[in-house]
Structures are given as C-alpha cells and as structure tokens.
Symmetry: C2
Subunit: 198 residues, 2 copies
C-alpha cells in the first residue's frame, strides 16, 4: 500500500470491507473525491471515534455508547430469558422482528475447529455467571443454523447443563413464503423432524 498514492491507499482500505471488491472500492473512492471535502471529513471523523465511543455492553456484549446497552437497561425486558447470539447484527435482526422480549448474550465468536478457532474464544464463564446471578429460567440458543452455529449451540448447551437451566434452540425449517420444491434436503428434513401437532 504505497503512501505516495493516497487514492490507491483508500481503494485498498475500502476493498477490505465485506462485499466491496476493487471495482466498487474504486467507484466509492472517486465518489468521495467528487463530493465536497466536508463529507470526507465527517466520514473520517465518524470512523476515527467509532472504537472509542462504541463499546461492548458490560452485561451482554451488545454494542453501546454507555456502560450497559439499552436492552439491558430497559426494566421492561424479561431478564429471566436469555437469547444467545453469535454477533450483534443477529441481535439487531431479532429486535427488528419485534416478538422477543427477553435479554441477550452476544458471544462475538463461533466454534469453528477446522478454521483453528478453539473453544477458548467463547467466554462461557461470563454466560454461566449471568445465568446464576440473574436467575435465568431459559436460555434460547440463536446461533446460526450453519455447521459452526450448530457446533457452538451444542457446546454452550453442554456447558449450561450443570446449572439446571432450560436450554432451547430456535426452530429450523422452511422459511416463511418458501416453496418446498426449492428447499434443500437438510431444511426439508428439519421441517419434518420439527413438525408440530395441530
């Protein structure tokens, strides 16, 4: 990354963003150049203070600019139910859906033994301590339905067993509006396995 070519440097940095290839990064850099400098300054300023001003919630790991996030600070949320997610965007998606009224626990990691991410990346002590301290009745495991997400769910469930707390896993099946014709075999199998009495 030669610092004597500021444009190439910016393109290289933007190209590290997810879903942004070199072509798009170049287009974005030219856009910033064509805009007046106030925009570039505002974006630079916002990025520069991001890590200082946004921290992890001391209770659940959600991003917050305060000591505790707005969900942990909200007395109307049910502290007896904990939803375990891998990443903050998953929490945001569940909040957008609007039906869950409990609190969260963000792992910020997934078990992926093949990629060399060992179990010590996941802080189970913090989760166990919280389950005990908050008298949690149920832990809902909402890690992804991928191999890594399933492995992590299993691992967390096992670690919680000695505490006697109820542990559940979100349902897997055909998505809303989905056609059976186009569902993959695993999803169809899960949909049958998880069938409910009517």
């Amino acid at each position: 990354m030669p610092s004597d070519d500021p444009l190439a440097e910016l393109v290289a940095l933007l190209g590290r963003l997810p879903g942004i290839g070199e072509r798009t990064a170049t287009r974005l850099a030219y856009f910033v150049l064509a805009e007046d400098r106030a925009y570039a300054s505002a974006l630079a300023g916002s990025l520069g203070v991001l890590h200082d001003r946004v921290r992890r919630c001391a209770s659940c790991g959600n991003f917050t600019s305060a000591e505790r996030c707005r969900i942990c600070s909200d007395p109307r949320r049910d502290g007896a139910v904990l939803c375990v997610v891998a990443r903050v965007p998953d929490l945001v998606a569940i909040e957008r859906a609007g039906s869950y009224r409990g609190r969260y626990h963000v792992l910020h990691a997934l078990l992926a033994p093949l990629d060399g991410m060992s179990a010590d990346r996941i802080d189970l002590d913090a989760l166990s301590a919280r389950v005990r301290a908050d008298e949690v009745r149920e832990v809902v495991l909402a890690t992804p339905l991928s191999v890594e997400g399933e492995a992590t769910a299993l691992y967390v469930a096992q670690s919680l067993r000695p505490l006697g707390v109820k542990v559940s896993r979100i349902a897997s099946g055909i998505p809303h509006g989905g056609e059976l014709e186009f569902a993959d075999q695993v999803t169809l199998g899960r949909a049958f396995e998880g069938r409910k009495d009517l």
Copy 2:
C-alpha cells in the same frame, strides 16, 4: 444525525455512498466495529487527507498527488491527440483498455439543461487554450453515449470549430460479444449508421 449514537451516525454517512443502502451501510459499520481499531484509524486517516493530497492535474483535470498527472508527465504520450471525458473513472476505463496513447481532458461535468446544470459548469476556455498551446491535431470526444453525454459532445465540438482542429466522437454500436436480439433500437440504429466497409 444524532451525535449521541456514533454507530447510527456512521451508518448514515456510509449510506450516502453510491450503491450503499441502509442495510449494507449497517453491515459495513458492524464490520468496522468487529475489526481491530487500527483498520478504522487507517480508513479515517486515508479519508481525512484525501482532498488535501489528491488534486486535479493542472493540465488535464485528472486526479493526481503531484502538480501534473502521470499521463501529462509521460513524454511518450502523444500530446497532439486529446481525449475529452466527463469523469476520471472514464479515463481510468480507457487506460485499462490500453489502446489509446494520446492525452486527456477531464470536464468533471456534463451538460444537463433539464437538471439545471448550465453550460458554464464546463470550462471550455481551458480546453481551447490547451488545443492551441499543445498544437493538438485531433480531439476525440469520449463523453458517455447518454443524452447528457451526447449534448456535451455536440457543445464541445461547436466550441472547437473556430480552431480548425479535427474533432471526432467515439463509435456507438453493439458491444463486443453482444447479441443483436437483445440490443435496443437506438443502439441497433447506430450500429447500422456507423457500419464500415470490409
């Protein structure tokens, strides 16, 4: 844009980039948060100095960190042929194609009377002065083949007429590998109009 929510502020700023909606902007912001702070700092730094370190080439308007761009400084480029483009990314695309060996003139604007962009946004005096000073033999108009690009090409061509320089327009027709079946009427019409003897 409430400054008490640094994440929302960054999402709003990223959302102004072309092709980046709120959903993508949110994903990018979370990515930056999940990366270590060195990345955010580097990106902030790069954006912060961009407008100071990248300027317009004094000769042609291309972006450069020097007084004159690398194309204008290259003695092997044919100074007697000038290619007029609307924006720097167009110049970059022509350079990538690799067959053009002349120099450029970047307008940084297009004629778009309907959008209120009047002709005074286009600096024709600089172009005329350059044609005279560099003893240019041919000006190739490579503005887009859109309504605005065509209007601009016509406008530039008219202004150059008194100088007696040869003015040409890049060809319009079916793109390489293109099927006639899927070409629009205007393109097909231009392909016939611009046919060449074999």
